[in-house]
């Protein structure tokens, strides 16, 4: 089994982060709080609640060396939490945003952190000793839409961002007095703060989940059109590869090694992508149990969906009253889907992409449920909820976090959290077919 631990902490989790020794996990249960749990004798125990934000916490990062937590929230603020004595003490960071903060990440040296926001800006925050205060410096007027993801290059200077304008950009974040000359390397050597190194325009639709490979040579990000992009030689002449896959779009990615990437998203099972000897990336397989329903019920449900659209439905089985509701829902979804199909080529297209993907998702799930139930009703078997889709996560996976061991660049262990409120720890060590990419 690739999944070595599964625990459901809440109804839904927006994001999570691990303490440096991986003994504690901090997550936001889709509220304005951050809960910290510790594993005590095989039981998770709530040890701290961080209450300071007014709205949903959209990003958490726990620094490995300095043991500080940074949080970002829809309330437009960030807090840096320091552990003093027995409790976490917050320091407010005024980001100077007029829209929600969406994501946050510590820089590799942990002397800066970056916040992406709905205000089309990125905040680079650093600590000013003399004022005992975190300063936020903004990269403005570079993004045409919300910044959905930020990722630090290992050199502590370059920052990659993804945005709902479909582009991925790389900026220099050199700050005088914080960064030293020698930390600048290669092509970024003469760039000032906020200078754009490259703009990648590969996706038609929203871009999410950007990450650098451990060496910083390769960049990966995803588009909301079920594509993943890999970029080498980030600089004046980048080399890009686009990989289309069969399933629902991804939300976030993680480099496990230079040659392997895990993608998570709406399909509820992590996907493995890897590069062969020639450096060509492709989809390898799903992690964990592949939902058995996929080829049968999900797509086969179109029999039913076609049946519904036809004047005389030819449903393959006797309907029970409780299924009628689902059928109604199915019809409604089909209508919505059809509407969005008609609208898709106009200005609403972007919105429709999201709505349609959501509808598609619900649609497939509704019919998987319908098929699953109809089978189980006959055998009078209780449907175990976690098995309904055959995977370990039961809903969209929104967050993937590496469980790094100090001194090792590859991360065979990582954790995922999603809208089903579960945190799952995965280990690739015992996956024989993937070990060649590690």
């Amino acid at each position: 089994m690739a999944a070595i631990a599964v625990h459901r902490f809440a109804q839904s989790i927006t994001c999570h982060a691990w303490s440096p020794d991986h003994s504690m996990v901090a997550f936001c249960p889709n509220s304005n709080e951050v809960h910290i749990y510790r594993l005590l004798q095989d039981k998770w125990e709530k040890v701290h609640v961080l209450q300071k934000h007014d709205q949903i916490v959209s990003g958490i990062d726990w620094s490995a060396r300095s043991n500080r937590i940074v949080t970002a929230s829809h309330d437009r603020n960030s807090y840096v939490w320091n552990f003093e004595g027995t409790e976490w003490v917050p320091t407010l960071v005024i980001l100077r945003l007029n829209r929600a903060a969406l994501c946050v990440q510590w820089s590799p040296k942990e002397n800066k952190f970056a916040v992406g926001s709905g205000a089309k800006t990125v905040c680079i925050c650093y600590y000013e000793q003399e004022n005992n205060w975190w300063i936020s410096k903004l990269i403005r007027k570079r993004h045409d839409s919300s910044v959905t993801g930020v990722a630090w290059h290992p050199n502590n200077i370059l920052l990659a961002t993804t945005s709902t304008d479909g582009k991925c950009r790389v900026f220099s974040t050199f700050i005088k007095g914080v960064d030293t000359k020698d930390s600048r390397t290669g092509s970024s050597s003469d760039s000032k703060f906020g200078e754009q190194i490259v703009q990648l325009d590969l996706s038609f639709s929203w871009a999410f989940g950007v990450k650098w490979s451990p060496s910083g040579n390769t960049l990966a990000y995803v588009g909301h059109n079920s594509m993943i992009y890999f970029v080498d030689d980030v600089g004046p002449s980048p080399l890009a590869q686009s990989v289309a896959f069969q399933d629902l779009p991804l939300c976030d990615v993680l480099f496990v090694s230079e040659r392997m990437v895990i993608g998570v998203g709406y399909d509820c099972s992590p996907m493995v992508f890897a590069a062969d000897e020639r450096g060509i990336w492709s989809f390898i397989r799903f992690l964990g149990e592949r939902k058995i329903a996929s080829s049968g019920s999900t797509y086969g449900s179109q029999d039913l969906y076609m049946g519904l659209l036809r004047p005389h439905p030819t449903t393959p089985f006797e309907l029970e009253p409780k299924h009628k509701e689902l059928i109604q829902l199915g019809i409604w979804i089909c209508q919505q889907f059809h509407k969005s199909l008609i609208l898709m080529k106009d200005d609403f297209s972007v919105r429709m992409v999201v709505e349609s993907s959501f509808i598609l998702y619900q649609f497939s799930e509704a019919f998987v449920k319908l098929y699953g139930q109809s089978k189980h009703v006959v055998s009078n078997d209780a449907v175990e909820p976690s098995r309904s889709r055959g995977g370990i996560h039961e809903n969209c996976i929104s967050c993937i976090v590496p469980l790094r061991q100090p001194g090792i660049s590859t991360v065979p262990r990582f954790s995922t959290s999603g809208l089903d409120g579960k945190v799952v720890i995965w280990d690739l060590e015992n996956q024989a077919d993937l070990s060649v990419y590690l």
Partner: protein
Amino acid sequence: MAATEGFVEADNTEAIITRIEHKSRKIESLLKQSKPVEALKTALEGSPPMTRDERCKSANWIVVHRALMAIKDVDGLLSSLDAEYYDILMNSISISSSRENGVNGGGEFTRSRATFVLNMYLYRGLSTGDRPTCDQCLRIHEKLTERAGLGCILRYLADTVNTV
């Protein structure tokens, strides 16, 4: 992959129409030889026409529609497209080189081009509301989704550059 070459300006409209007419004659002769799969492949070649001109688009649609409606054996069609798909796969995952100020991948779907273009026309067919056309398109769509997955539909929905 003509898609990356950008849109052709208005004075080329006539040339496109001529090409479509030529394609139409070829398709008719293929249909007469009862080679509907070959006919559809021909119809999908150079589709969608790289123009914003509605006249070209509808002319091309009529040709594709003609070929689409002649398809009886959907599985046969898709396995033959699959072969092409693998072919494209083998030949063209060449790493696309960049241009100034970034990389532009707009309109390029090298891996699943054939299925993607077919899907576009299926949706155009569905939007006509014509019973036989919708029946046919839904039938192909079902099989296509079985093979190409939901990703194919999402890419179509997300595409703001290619229109049929």
